[in-house]
């Protein structure tokens, strides 16, 4: 029977949908050969890469005749295989740039028809494209994660540097170093040894991670030269033991525990080797990459930095002891000031960290103290502060530190106290403050808002103080004269809200939000095909803010719904205006970005429906853009929302495509019309990093799925030409127009024209010597 002409394209698009669902290269090959065999009813199909069978179907496991399959010559032929007999063979090139990859298909009896050969070639090409995309995305992700590792290291080192420069106690700094080395070099064991100043032939462990107490006791004081860490000291260089037990001088306790690899770097004080930093692992497969060696050296350098700094500090401390003491007290009340409170808090935290105890901080703020100052004068105010200070002293235990931070802010540091007990002290403090104060013949009644925070084992003193402050703020917010205990929820809610919420709320209600509009143009004709609406915040202080500066905060503060509503309504309103004015801008679709929270809002579809109705706009005049991650989070719910939106006739796009999961297959789950290739890919086109191929693959696959493709962030004519030659349907970017206020955009497009008047860059790319349709043959 003669296959119908449309059979080929349908088979291909089915194949594409199937193979693009596979998560990795091997799965795509395995699934691909199975589908190819089924499509042409062949008994055998295989992918042969550089002479090896990467995947095959038709043979029992372990009985694949690799040499015969690899030896099938290109094109049509016949082969004879044991038990299978004579078979027609077809071998086609997968056109993989990086290696010699072929699809081999064998069928008993019937030779392949011309149509079948065309189909197999097409499938091989689709498989190659899919696999290449998977491979490139894999590399992209790997390099991103390497970048992330680097970032983590820098941040960790930066924190260590900061704690050194903030004069954190030396033991806290050293612990931060061993913990950092443990997590970033991924080591189960970390030990920092320093030369014992009283007995310089020995090393003592000053900080460690993952060393059991009995081992710590046994190897806590060992001769220089013993163990990998000892050798790093005696040899003054990086030492690596890939098989610890066979090292010249291993620590027997570590050998007994099965330590398999270790690496140590020397640390220096005043230019001389002063000890070593060691990392170790029980994993027999563990090796240390060059990056990890560099990481350990970086941590060792920072240890040196901290040691040198600490010795300098000792001298300074000695010389300026009195001045330091003077600087540490509040003149008015005689209480320790912020610096001393922080210092004591830091010491207390370091102490209890060793003894597994608790430190709590009370942040005490007098309610409405300002009105006392304002109505009775500052001298009365000062007197009140002195009385309060005395009462606080009376209310706490002798071992607790009471300090005054500023104005009417007091702080109590309670050592060795669990939160429940600290709560009782907080109550005593609140009671003490609220007893009437007699001053100049009148009773003043005060109250205090108290915030309570307990020190997290890894926190810094400033952090604990800030936490208590935030809890105090919460107590104020909840009506004052209360005690609130800090938790992470408070932090997240407060910080986001305090800083941005009010300003943003005002912005939404008070007309500080603007929509700017950026044209999307047809790649070939440069005609306007759509407009993307982008929100801006015209901040009274900071000027025009881009959405990445306030949308995430709006999401956190729950303001994204009203903000999103404003955007949808404003975009519809503007479009209705353009339509009423018969502007050419009114004849194309305006698209709006939907955030995750907004997308999950139950009222979204009804909002869109009613807004369209209110402005008498057809659904097709509006588009929505959602990012991949929004869809992937809750795919089923997302698909349902999209279906309902689609039911209104609106246009739907996947935004920032390529930055997330990037499997085109899931696009089939969603009724989307268009894919927008992320600007980061466009920006890096032509840099030889494989981005051209990714963009090309995305365009080809999207087109095969019947989706439009828009490339974002087009800034150069070279990018435009490249996208044109890849068959990308539409483009958007600064090359054509930045996002502009509606009036400016309208001025660019005079009536009856759909090309802007004023862009010097606008030339059809195919007039620039590029054969625009040259690369269009791939799939369709």
């Amino acid at each position: 029977m003669e296959p119908r002409r449309d059979w080929l394209s349908h088979q291909l698009s089915e194949f594409l949908a199937a193979v693009s669902a596979y998560p990795d290269e091997l799965a795509a090959f395995e699934g691909g050969v199975e589908r190819i065999a089924e499509a042409v009813e062949a008994e055998v199909a295989a992918v042969v890469v550089d002479g090896w069978v990467a995947a095959s179907v038709g043979f029992r496991p372990g009985q694949v005749p690799e040499a015969q399959l690899a030896g099938v010559r290109m094109g049509m032929s016949t082969v004879s295989l044991p038990a299978l007999g004579h078979a027609s063979a077809l071998s086609v090139d997968m056109e993989d740039d990086e290696r010699n990859a072929r699809v081999v298909v064998l069928r008993v009896d019937a030779p392949f028809s011309h149509e079948e050969a065309v189909l197999i070639r097409g499938m091989a090409r689709v498989l190659a494209l899919t696999v290449r995309l998977l491979r490139l995305l894999h590399r992209e992700r790997t390099s991103r994660s390497q970048l992330q590792e680097r970032q983590d290291l820098l941040e960790r080192l930066f924190r260590i540097q900061r704690s050194i420069s903030h004069r954190a106690p030396i033991d806290v700094v050293l612990d931060a170093i061993t913990e950092g080395a443990s997590s970033l070099v991924d080591a189960e064991v970390v030990a920092l040894r320093l030369i014992d100043e009283t007995n310089p032939d020995y090393l003592g462990i000053v900080s460690s991670v993952g060393v059991e107490p009995d081992v710590l006791e046994a190897i806590g004081h060992t001769p220089v030269g013993d163990g990998v860490g000892g050798r790093a000291v005696s040899e003054a260089k990086l030492v690596i033991a890939h098989d610890y037990q066979f090292d010249p001088q291993p620590m027997l306790q570590f050998v007994d525990r099965g330590l398999h690899t270790a690496m140590a770097a020397p640390v220096y004080r005043d230019g001389k080797v002063a000890g070593s930093l060691l990392v170790g692992s029980y994993d027999p497969e563990r090796t240390y990459s060059e990056t990890e060696q560099e990481m350990l050296l970086a941590f060792a350098e920072h240890t040196s930095l901290a040691l040198n700094d600490a010795s300098a500090l000792e001298a300074i401390n000695q010389a300026f002891a009195d001045a330091v003491h003077r600087a540490n007290h509040d003149e008015l009340t005689g209480l320790p000031n912020r610096a001393l409170v922080l210092d004591r808090l830091g010491h207390a935290m370091a102490r209890v960290a060793r003894e597994d105890g608790h430190v709590c901080v009370l942040f005490v703020d007098l309610d409405r103290f300002k009105s006392i100052n304002d109505s009775l004068g500052h001298s009365v105010g000062d007197e009140v502060l002195v009385r309060v200070a005395e009462r606080l002293h009376m209310a706490v235990r002798p071992s607790d530190t009471v300090g005054r931070l500023s104005g009417d802010e007091f702080v109590v540091v309670c050592e060795d106290l669990a939160v429940a007990d600290a709560m009782r002290i907080a109550e005593r403090v609140a009671d003490a403050v609220s007893a009437p104060i007699q001053l100049y013949g009148r009773d003043l009644v005060l109250t205090a808002s108290v915030g309570l925070a307990s020190a997290h084992p890894t926190a810094k003193a400033e952090d604990v103080l800030r936490d208590a402050d935030v809890a105090m703020y919460r107590a104020k917010e909840r009506g004052r004269a209360r005690i609130e205990v800090f938790d992470e929820t408070i932090r997240a809610q407060m910080l986001a809200r305090i800083e941005m919420e009010q300003a943003l709320r005002r912005a939404i209600a008070g007309g500080e939000l603007r929509l700017h509009y950026q044209p999307v143009i047809d790649t070939e004709s440069a005609r306007l095909v759509a407009i993307e609406a982008l929100v801006r915040w015209e901040h009274p202080e900071f000027g025009l803010l881009a959405p990445d500066l306030f949308i995430p905060l709006a999401e956190e503060a729950g303001l994204i719904i009203p903000l999103g509503r404003w955007v949808i309504e404003e975009a519809c309103r503007q479009l209705a205006v353009w339509r009423a004015e018969c502007s050419p801008l009114g004849s194309v679709r305006v698209s709006v970005n939907l955030s995750a929270r907004q997308f999950g809002d139950a009222g979204l579809v009804e909002l869109v429906r009613s807004t369209l109705q209110a402005f008498r706009l057809p659904g097709s005049s509006i588009g929505f853009e959602v990012t991949e991650s929004v869809l992937m989070d809750e795919a089923e719910a997302a698909a349902e929302t999209l279906r309902r939106l689609k039911g209104l006739g609106v246009h739907l796009s996947i935004d920032d495509f390529g930055t997330g999961y990037s499997s085109l297959s899931y696009l089939q789950l969603f009724p989307v019309d268009c894919v927008k290739v992320d600007r980061s890919f466009v920006a890096r086109m032509g840099d030889g990093g494989g981005n051209d191929v990714i963009v090309s693959a995305v365009i080809s696959l999207a087109r095969a799925l019947g989706l439009d493709v828009v490339a974002e962030g087009v800034e150069t004519e070279a990018q435009w030409r490249a996208l044109s030659s890849l068959g990308c349907g539409s483009v958007q970017g600064f090359l054509f127009s930045r996002p502009k206020p509606p009036s400016e955009l309208a001025a660019d497009y005079s009536s009856g024209m759909t090309k802007p008047r004023c862009s010097s860059a606008m030339r059809n790319p195919s007039q620039s010597g590029v054969a625009a349709s040259a690369a269009r043959s791939s799939i369709s």
């Binding site: 119908r4 088979q11 199975e34 038709g58 029992r60 496991p61 009985q63």
Partner: protein, 387 residues
């Protein structure tokens, strides 16, 4: 090969009697049991197994059993048919696997069960027989799994277990185990040829159409037109089939869908219509992008298919006379020809067997793969001839 049948109401008695009759020959290597699901199945299987201790036993519940042994040829319900395969020229190995999702599903079960192929002696002729749960989902996955395990050189036959059209639960047997949602596989190696015949007996109506939209077993559009409307119009369905689900299903029973295959068609039974969605619901997957025909048939075409399947299976034996036939016959074919028709069908099987015994059952789906990689069928007769 020996075949025994019993219609005794007592499971143990029926099993024992049928097994005894089947085991007339020497050196049994395999017992195959087809029986009604209404029996006390563990007791029945136990009785059969005790008749030949140590001999591998496989089987399943059915939607009707058929047998030819000596002068007795018949088909019916509520019986048990036992087949004994024996003699020095055979090597047999059996395995089963659960097709439950947590065990890896149908494909994995097919792959695992088909692993028995590596347990048989290397003899020149092989076949893999599978018995599966006809109510357990996409049986094409079983074919894919077995193909992955045994490859192109081993043909596949078999059938899906039934439950007399109650459509609630079917059972598979291996040893004395009675299971649901299992794949039971038998690897048969023989020094004499094994022949396979496959025919459905339906005629193409009109031109081929492209499956332009489908999802699993739901067929939405053919040539971009709603599948249901095209189906009703092209086949000239009676008026009541346009609105009445029962009338539609009656009509659909004799008007299946044929999917284009190199070896002819793979038939897909149209089970029901979705009048709202204007789609057809088939009993197995209809892949998008393939070519399909509407088909029609009657008693005559069904019986012609019986002849053709038997001939095809026997031709493959060459000059060797058959020792017996095993038939996997679709319950829907039985529906077309009725009870008198199936008697005529069994008579024809007996004629082709020419004195050799025949055993078979009415299935909820048939397996046969000799070429290509696919091999799940509906409304089809699969015959295995053993020489």
């Amino acid at each position: 090969m020996g075949v025994g049948r019993s219609d005794d109401n007592d499971a143990s008695t029926a099993g024992r009697n049928a097994a005894k009759a089947a085991l007339a020959g020497p050196d049994p290597r395999l017992l195959i049991v087809f029986c009604a699901d209404s029996y006390d199945l563990p007791a029945l299987v136990q009785a059969v197994a005790e008749a030949a201790p140590g001999v591998p036993l496989v089987g399943c519940s059915t939607a009707g059993e058929l047998s030819v042994s000596g002068n007795e040829a018949g088909a019916g319900d509520a019986t048990v048919v036992v087949t004994a395969l024996g003699g020095s020229g055979f090597s047999v190995a059996t395995r089963h696997a659960s097709a439950a999702a947590e065990d890896g599903g149908l494909r994995q079960a097919g792959f695992d069960a088909a692993g028995c192929m590596s347990d048989v002696e290397p003899l020149p002729h092989n076949v893999l027989m599978v018995l599966t749960d006809g109510l357990a989902g996409d049986q094409e996955e079983v074919v894919r799994g077995t193909y992955r395990a045994v490859g192109a050189t081993v043909p596949l036959v078999g059938g899906c277990a039934g439950d007399d059209l109650k459509m609630t639960a079917t059972y598979q047997f291996h040893g004395t185990e009675v299971m649901r949602n299992a794949v039971v596989a038998v690897a048969i190696a023989s020094d004499a040829p094994l022949g396979i015949g496959v025919r459905h007996g339906w005629r193409r109506v009109g031109d081929p159409m492209l499956v332009t939209n489908s999802d699993g077993n739901r067929l939405f559009t053919l040539d971009d037109q709603p599948a249901l409307d095209t189906y009703l119009r092209k086949l000239g369905a009676p008026a009541e089939a346009y609105t009445d689900p029962a009338a539609f299903t009656r009509f659909a029973l004799t008007h299946p869908l044929g999917l284009s295959r190199r070896s002819g068609e793979e038939v897909r039974f149209v089970a029901e219509a979705d009048f709202h969605e204007r789609s057809l619901v088939c009993i197995a997957n209809v892949a998008k992008g393939g070519l399909a025909w509407f088909m029609e048939g009657d008693e005559e075409s069904v019986l012609q298919a019986t002849d053709a399947a038997c001939s095809e299976a026997l031709i493959a034996l060459g000059d060797a006379p058959p020792l017996g036939l095993v038939a996997f016959d679709c319950i829907a074919r039985r529906g077309v020809v009725g009870d008198e028709g199936i008697q005529r069908e069994v008579d024809r099987l007996a004629d082709f067997a020419n004195g050799a015994p025949v055993a078979g059952f009415y299935t909820y789906g048939e397996f046969a793969r000799t070429r290509g990689t696919t091999g799940f069928h509906n409304q089809t007769l699969v015959v295995l001839a053993v020489a």
